[in-house]
Structures are given as structure tokens and as C-alpha cells.
């Protein structure tokens, strides 16, 4: 999730991927949440979530192919 931060508008992407990562884990600091809620749009979080899910599937597949090779 973190490799992409450098490209476009670094700070925002970092913030989105952070929000998505912590969402998958299920924990989020209250202050960070408030920052997200005020600065990120729902569309950004939803697209971030879908991208995050795809990355999650991809990294699991990578892990599996490493384990089975």
C-alpha cells in the first residue's frame, strides 16, 4: 500500500492509504479519524478501499506463490 505515495500528490495518497490500511486492521486513532473525516471525500476512501483490497489479494497471491514454489 505504501509504494505509491511518492507519485501523485504525495501527502493525500499517503493519507488515503493510511486510512485504508488502518481500516483493514480495524483500528484508528481518534485524531487521525477526525482529520480523515474532514479532509477526505467518500469517493477517495471507497476507491482507496477497492485498490487496497486488490493489493491485498495481490500480495496474498504473491505470498502463496513464494510458499508453493
Amino acid at each position: 500500500m505504501k509504494e505509491k505515495k511518492a507519485k501523485l500528490d504525495g501527502g493525500k495518497l499517503l493519507q488515503i492509504s493510511g486510512a485504508v490500511f488502518w481500516a483493514f486492521f480495524g483500528v484508528r486513532k481518534q485524531s487521525d479519524l477526525e482529520l480523515d473525516a474532514s479532509t477526505l471525500t467518500p469517493a477517495q476512501v471507497i476507491i482507496g478501499g477497492i485498490v487496497g483490497a486488490a493489493l491485498f489479494v495481490g500480495s496474498l497471491m504473491l505470498l502463496v506463490s513464494l510458499v508453493t514454489s
Partner: protein, 526 residues
């Protein structure tokens, strides 16, 4: 959630339609909610009678009460009736009653569609149940209706397919209604992140329903055309693939199990803070955990198919993914526990059910993780271990949350307090008999007793007898629940607007019973 500016004195005359038309033409969310709840309770008793017949047959080895054909019909129909007839509609009933009151809306967004989604359930249920009486009897290949059995069976199978289609359409309409209501009809100031957790879990569940139900519809439509119109989607002899059905079914099926548990998480997340007199610990992480469970639930389906034949890489992928889904689930259990930590707790019946839920759901979660480990699952798949797992998550999970929620909101619904002593009896008896019935099934499964069999080898006799005694005790205890609810409807101590001192959500600002039309002028949430 927040302080409310609402003029309770604003007296509105409660004119409403009476007689039969009140129910047939119902557009009021409270009336429709009531019908959903009674419908699901009737289905719960219907499915319960089937379960007790199964347990009576399994009380002793040998065939005593039902023949094997009927036995298989009973196990299949028990599953279908409980999943689609009891648990799912019960949560929709809660949604109808509670969501408008909890977000300060006057009703659901599409009142007539709401009526339609309820009334569709009635013909669907009749169609499903009457399949017992047609030639060939009810579907008997298991609630998962796998081909080839489901392609070969008699017309009862077609009736079940139509029933599922209708129920699916009803669920989708209900979900559209819930999504629209939550997104568009919140009172001023009720931002998304101020919504009660029950509303959040239902919003996410509704999206899951919209995603999952059409997949089921696709699977059973293919089944229908395979059966009646000569297609060969699942027929190996015609070039089809029966395992494809399993993939499609479980792509619906695993999200479906979360459809049945997320609203339960929501109810428990309302009850625990009230009776611990503390705000929910980690509210936002609960929202996040629910959303991530919903997303992850779509990529774990093949853990139901480890023994169906799959490359090792596939087994590992679904094993890892399934085990990771336990992380956000664990976060929830942690948050509920942290909410109770150092709270000033009291143990009224809703709280007892909520705590029972946490204990027993955790057991079910752990046995789920155990099933997710491929080498173990190859041993326990299709045994009583799996039966024990999903009854811990569905009965002591979903159903206990429904009981807790019923006791919690009964004062608001009826205007009377329920009988606390009897409520506690209901809890403790349910707790005792549930574990008696289902804990021993772990042992049966580990010892190798297969599921869906009417007879078994002698070494399984003792635990089966214990399990059957527990099941009958549990079943009879639910008649006590019916009695407590009826008694509460008919009278009892008058309930104040907010009988629970720790309750903070909007519905408690309304008088009890909640007026027929509530929040016609939206409250202002600060």
C-alpha cells in the same frame, strides 16, 4: 449519541388505518417492522420443529422416527427456513423499527416498497414450506443446494428456487430502502460518524446484500434452466461443472454469513455501552472494522470448498485470507470488552444476552479459524464440528443478539417493561441448553461423525443423546420467550421514555410506546 432538541410535547393525533387493512396496506415503518418480527418468529418456530424432529431421530442410533428421505428434507429445510425465513427477516424487522427512530427520520424512504418487500416474503415462505407436500417432497440435498442432487430432485426443488428468488428480490428492495433512508433522511446534525453503530452495521450489510443476493439469483437461475430447459451449466455429462456451482454459491454464501452477523454486532454495540454506562470504546474503529469485514468477506468463499478439489496454491490463498478476516473481528471483541472495562455495569436481560453473545460468538470465531486451516478442515469438513461452529456463530451469535435487542427495545415498542425475572430465566436456560446441545457436537465432529446422516455408529451415542436433550431444552425455553413478549405486549409496568439510564440514542427521546408517527419534525442533533 448527542444531545437532542426535540419537543416531545408536540402532540400529534395518532390517526392510523385500522383492522386488516392496517397490515395489508401497511406503509408505517413500525407496523412493517412488527410484521417482519412476527413473521420471523413464526419461521423460527417452524424451523425449530424441524430441528427437534432431527434431534429426536438422532437421540439414539438406528432409525426410529423419520425415514432417511424425510430426514434429509428436514435438514435442508431447517437450514433454508432459519437462514432466509428467521434470521434475515428478523434483522430487517429491527431495521424497520429502529433505523428511522435512531437517525431522527419520520419513516423509511420508500414506504410502499417497504410494504412490498415484506409481503413478498409470505408467498415465498408458503411456496418453500408447501414443497413438503408435493410429489418427491421438499429439497433434500442440503441448504447449499449443490448439484448434481439439486438437478435431479423433484418439483419441490423448483418451488424452493422460486421461493429463494422472491426472497432475494425482497431483500434487495429492503436494502435499497435502508441505504436510501440512511443516506438521505438523517436529522440535521446527524453526520455519518455520529450515527449509532446499529445504523452503520445495517448500512454496510445493505450494501453486502445488494452485492450478494444477485449472485445467488444467478446460481439458482442456472440451476433452474439446468433442471427444466436443457442447459448444462452444472452437468458434467453435458460439459458443465458442478464445482462451478459451489464457487458461485459460496461467493454469495460467505458474504451472506456476514449479512447475518453484522447487524448483530450493531445490536450488541448499542446494548453494551448502555449497560456499562460508558460510550462505546473505539467507535470509529468499530465502523472501520465492520467495513473491512464486509470487503474481506468477499474474498474468502472457497474455504467452504477445501475438499472439493483445488490446487494447493488456492487452498493456501483462501486459508490465509480467511484467517486474516479474524483480525477485524477480534478488534470488535476487544472493543466491547474495553467498553465494559471499569464501566458501572448492571446485568439486565439485554446485557446478559450481549455478554453471552461475546463469549459464545468468540468460541464460534475460534472454531471458524480452526476450520480455516486446510489440513484440519480436510478432517472436519462435513462433520459435526462444522455444525458446532456455525451454530455458535448463528445461534449464540445472531440469535442471541436478536433476543438481547428484543428485550432492549421492547419497552420502546410496547410501552411496558418486560418481566425481568422471566427474562433472566430465558437467558440462563438458553445459555445452559444451547451449550448442552452444541458444545458436545465439537467432540462428535472431531471423532468423525458426519453431518446430514439419520443414523450413526454406536460410539457416538452418548454425546448425541446429550445434544438432543440440550436441543429440546433450548426449544422449549423459546416458548418462555414467547410468553414474556406476549405478557409485555399485554401489560406490565409502564415504561418511561428512557428506561435505561445509560441509553443515549435518539429513540429514547420519544415517549414509550413510540408514537405511531415519530420525528415528523426532525430533531436537531448537536
Amino acid at each position: 449519541m448527542a444531545a437532542v432538541d426535540h419537543d416531545i410535547a408536540h402532540a400529534h393525533d395518532d390517526h392510523h388505518p385500522t383492522g386488516l387493512m392496517r397490515w395489508i396496506g401497511a406503509t408505517n415503518h413500525k407496523d412493517i417492522g412488527t410484521m417482519y418480527l412476527w413473521f420471523s418468529f413464526i419461521m423460527f418456530l417452524t424451523g425449530g420443529v424441524m430441528a427437534l424432529t432431527i434431534r429426536a431421530e438422532l437421540f439414539q442410533p438406528g432409525i426410529q422416527i423419520v425415514n432417511p428421505e424425510l430426514f434429509n428434507q428436514l435438514t435442508t429445510m431447517h437450514g433454508l427456513v432459519m437462514v432466509f425465513g428467521a434470521i434475515m427477516p428478523a434483522f430487517v424487522g429491527f431495521a424497520n423499527w429502529q433505523i428511522p427512530m435512531m437517525i431522527g427520520a419520520p419513516d423509511m424512504a420508500f414506504a410502499r416498497m417497504n410494504n412490498w418487500s415484506f409481503w413478498l416474503l409470505v408467498p415465498a415462505a408458503l411456496l418453500l414450506i408447501s414443497s413438503f407436500f408435493v410429489p418427491g417432497g421438499a429439497p433434500a440435498g442440503g441448504w447449499t443446494i449443490y448439484p448434481p442432487l439439486s438437478v435431479q430432485m423433484g418439483m419441490g426443488m423448483d418451488m424452493a428456487i422460486f421461493a429463494l428468488h422472491i426472497m432475494g428480490a425482497a431483500s434487495i428492495m429492503g436494502s435499497i430502502n435502508i441505504i436510501t433512508t440512511v443516506l438521505n433522511m438523517r436529522a440535521p446534525g446527524m453526520t455519518l460518524m455520529k450515527m449509532p453503530l446499529f445504523v452503520w452495521t445495517w448500512l454496510i450489510t445493505a450494501y453486502l446484500l445488494v452485492l450478494a443476493m444477485p449472485v445467488l439469483a444467478g446460481a439458482i437461475t442456472m440451476l433452474l434452466t439446468d433442471r427444466n430447459f436443457g442447459t448444462n451449466f452444472f452437468n458434467a455429462a453435458g460439459g458443465g461443472d458442478p464445482v462451478m456451482f459451489q464457487h458461485i454459491f459460496w461467493f454469495f454464501g460467505h458474504p451472506e454469513v456476514y449479512i447475518m452477523i453484522l447487524p448483530a454486532f450493531g445490536i450488541v454495540s448499542e446494548i453494551i455501552p448502555t449497560f456499562a454506562r460508558k460510550p462505546l470504546f473505539g467507535y470509529s474503529s468499530m465502523v472501520y472494522a465492520t467495513a473491512s469485514i464486509a470487503i474481506l468477506s468477499c474474498i474468502v468463499w472457497a474455504h467452504h470448498m477445501f475438499t472439493a478439489g483445488m490446487p494447493a496454491a488456492g487452498q493456501l490463498f483462501f486459508m490465509y485470507a480467511t484467517m486474516l478476516i479474524a483480525v477485524p473481528t477480534g478488534v470488535k471483541v476487544f472493543n466491547w470488552t474495553a467498553t465494559m472495562w471499569r464501566g458501572s455495569m448492571t446485568f439486565e436481560t439485554p446485557m446478559l444476552f450481549a455478554i453471552g453473545f461475546i463469549f459464545l460468538f468468540t468460541i464460534g470465531g475460534f472454531s471458524g479459524v480452526i476450520c480455516a486451516i486446510v489440513p484440519i478442515d480436510i478432517q472436519v469438513q462435513d462433520t459435526y464440528y462444522v455444525i458446532a461452529h456455525f451454530h455458535y456463530v448463528l445461534v449464540s451469535g445472531a440469535l442471541f443478539a436478536l433476543f438481547g435487542g428484543t428485550y432492549y427495545w421492547l419497552p420502546k415498542w410496547t410501552g411496558h417493561m418486560y418481566d425481568e425475572t422471566l427474562g433472566k430465566w430465558h437467558f440462563w436456560l438458553s445459555m445452559f441448553f444451547f451449550n448442552l446441545a452444541f458444545f458436545v457436537q465439537h467432540f462428535l465432529g472431531l471423532a468423525g461423525m458426519p453431518r446430514r446422516v439419520p443414523d450413526y455408529a454406536l460410539q457416538f451415542a452418548d454425546f448425541n443423546m446429550i445434544s438432543s436433550i440440550g436441543a429440546f431444552g433450548f426449544g422449549l425455553t423459546q416458548l418462555l420467550f414467547l410468553y414474556v413478549v406476549l405478557k409485555c405486549i399485554r401489560g406490565g409496568e409502564k415504561a418511561p421514555a428512557s428506561p435505561w439510564e445509560g441509553a443515549k440514542t435518539l429513540e429514547w427521546t420519544l415517549p414509550s410506546p413510540a408514537p405511531y408517527h415519530s420525528f415528523e419534525t426532525p430533531p436537531v442533533v448537536k
